[in-house]
């Protein structure tokens, strides 16, 4: 037995969808596929490379192993979870080339969506939701579920984080964040089976300084930012990279702006939707940066965040845009053109400083706002 371990090579070759890649021994199939990148990477809803012990819960990363290893080329009888299965030398893995995998994944998506409320029009995560992407990619158009969806009572877990238990897929990522980033976890998964839910049990506020990272790791809209609640749709905001000197965290964030207003602050995400690493350390950000620094002057802005052009977030962000030069003033000897209407004088939208509100705007704010503006006009 000991000899066999000694003989195991430091680097193994694995073939995923006919692409061979060499990875260190002990790498999981999912991480090997991520080294190749692109379409051959299985989706992952629960696995998070920056969180120890995550993975193995959602079953979306199932792949077919057509040959176990060079020494034992028998195929594995069942589909395996690629986030938990380590590669062997000479392993042949099929992901998008296998109909079985695609079929199984469609089934997994159907199960994940069984109790999902499908309230994407209301949900703040829409547009950057992994479950939404997965549903569009693999899901079926209709549902076969004929019963009432499982619902939970609304629970307040603190002033900054909004919990929507109905949307949760129980990936456990947020509990790993609480375990590994914060001193003592005050929330977890309660009850079993169909009744399992994320809760703080006695509605104890989650007030640890790094608790906000749960929002970033949540693959669905179960944990969202209360300071961003309903303020805008993600795809109408403009993501820019920014940093500040933070004594607690790396201070490298993405600001989601509308005009110069900072509506939301998140950690920077890599191509897998995970928090980016700096010098080998995950770039988690603290709650001060996330929830309290909502002014553009708090930050040093580096430039626009690179967004995949297939993402809805990139809509309206025109690359290489060339504004035509305005020549009217030159031609008219310095006279400004007389505009017949300035839309900002007429429009009633954008009158409220949304970034200054601690939570979602309500009819109260709009009422006082309209009173103020009517007073101004009088």
């Amino acid at each position: 037995m000991a000899d066999e371990i000694k003989k195991a090579p430091a680097a193994v070759k694995v073939t995923i969808d006919n692409i061979t890649v060499e990875v260190p021994a002990g790498t999981t199939i999912l991480n090997a596929a991520r080294q190749i990148g692109g379409d051959v990477t299985p989706p992952a809803m629960c696995y998070y490379s920056k969180l120890e012990g995550s993975g193995g819960k959602c079953r979306t990363c199932l792949v077919e192993v057509a040959a176990g290893s060079a020494a034992d080329p028998r195929p594995m009888p069942k589909l395996v979870a690629s986030c938990r299965t380590t590669v062997m030398d000479g392993m042949v893995v099929k992901n998008i080339t296998s109909d079985r995998v695609q079929d199984a994944r469609a089934g997994v998506v159907e199960f994940l969506l069984l109790n999902h409320p499908l309230d994407c029009p209301v949900c703040d995560q829409a547009g950057e939701c992994h479950l939404q992407d997965l549903g569009y990619e693999h899901g079926k158009e209709g549902t076969r579920y004929e019963f009432n969806r499982r619902t939970f009572e609304k629970e307040d877990i603190g002033p900054t984080i909004q919990l929507h238990m109905n949307r949760c897929i129980l990936c456990y990522r947020c509990t790993y964040v609480a375990d590994q980033l914060t001193d003592n976890r005050v929330h977890g998964v309660l009850d079993r089976g169909d009744h399992a839910q994320i809760s703080t049990y006695i509605s104890k506020a989650i007030d640890n300084n790094f608790s906000g990272n749960m929002i970033d790791v949540c693959p669905v809209g179960a944990l969202t930012d209360k300071t961003f609640r309903f303020k805008n749709r993600v795809w109408f905001t403009k993501p820019v990279d920014a940093h500040r000197d933070c004594p607690d965290c790396c201070g490298k964030v993405t600001l989601w702006q509308r005009g110069d207003e900072v509506l939301r602050v998140t950690a920077r995400k890599d191509e897998w939707g995970e928090v980016k690493s700096y010098d080998g350390k995950p770039g988690w950000i603290c709650n001060t940066c996330r929830f309290e620094k909502k002014k553009a002057s708090d930050w040093t802005i580096e430039g626009p965040t690179v967004i995949n052009r297939h993402s809805v977030i990139s809509q309206g962000h025109y690359l290489n845009k060339q504004q035509p030069k305005e020549t009217i003033q030159e031609v008219m000897g310095g006279l400004k053109p007389r505009l017949l209407m300035d839309i900002h004088e007429v429009s009633e939208v954008n009158k409220l400083e949304l970034s200054e509100l601690p939570g979602a705007a309500t009819s109260q704010q709009y009422k006082t706002n309209s009173n103020e503006s009517s007073n101004k006009t009088v």
């Binding site: 209301v122 209407m341 007429v346 409220l352 705007a361």
Partner: protein
Amino acid sequence: MQLTQRSKSVDRSPMTFLESLYLWNIMKGMAITLRHLFKKKATIQYPEEKRPFSPIFRGLHVLNRDAEGRENCTACGLCAVACPAEAITMEAAERLPGEENLYREEKYAAKYEINMLRCIFCGLCEEACPKDAIYLSQTFAPANYGRKGFIYGKNELLIPHPINEREAYLKALGDRTPSARIQNQPNA
């Protein structure tokens, strides 16, 4: 290069005296005018008389309510992202306890504006809407002396209340939307 067989070469020979009087040509032209006097008129006397709209005519937008009079719109922004003319803007707000009779969902559009000067009436907002909240009716935007009158807010767009102002509601609803079909069912 000859592309068709119908081309005619231009006759550039000088006109004779008879031709230069244009008598025959004037008569030909007058005959056409006379013929048109007795043809069916192409114009109508608007606004006394109105043309029937095509069943797929796309006119002024209406923000819909459900049967209980609650606003359907949840400010999801899909109409605005679908809009090729970028004419739609909105601001969302959270429904407070006690406002359940006003708004159907937890989130609603506190402000909803369509710039009718930008709108091209393509109907993509109607197609994008997941809540049957916006549709294009069979009327068009009335003329206005100023441009400011073409920024339509919720006051202008929202359909009348289906219970309190039933007649105005049914008139605004028309007969094409899914909710109109439900309303027009005999047992409804």
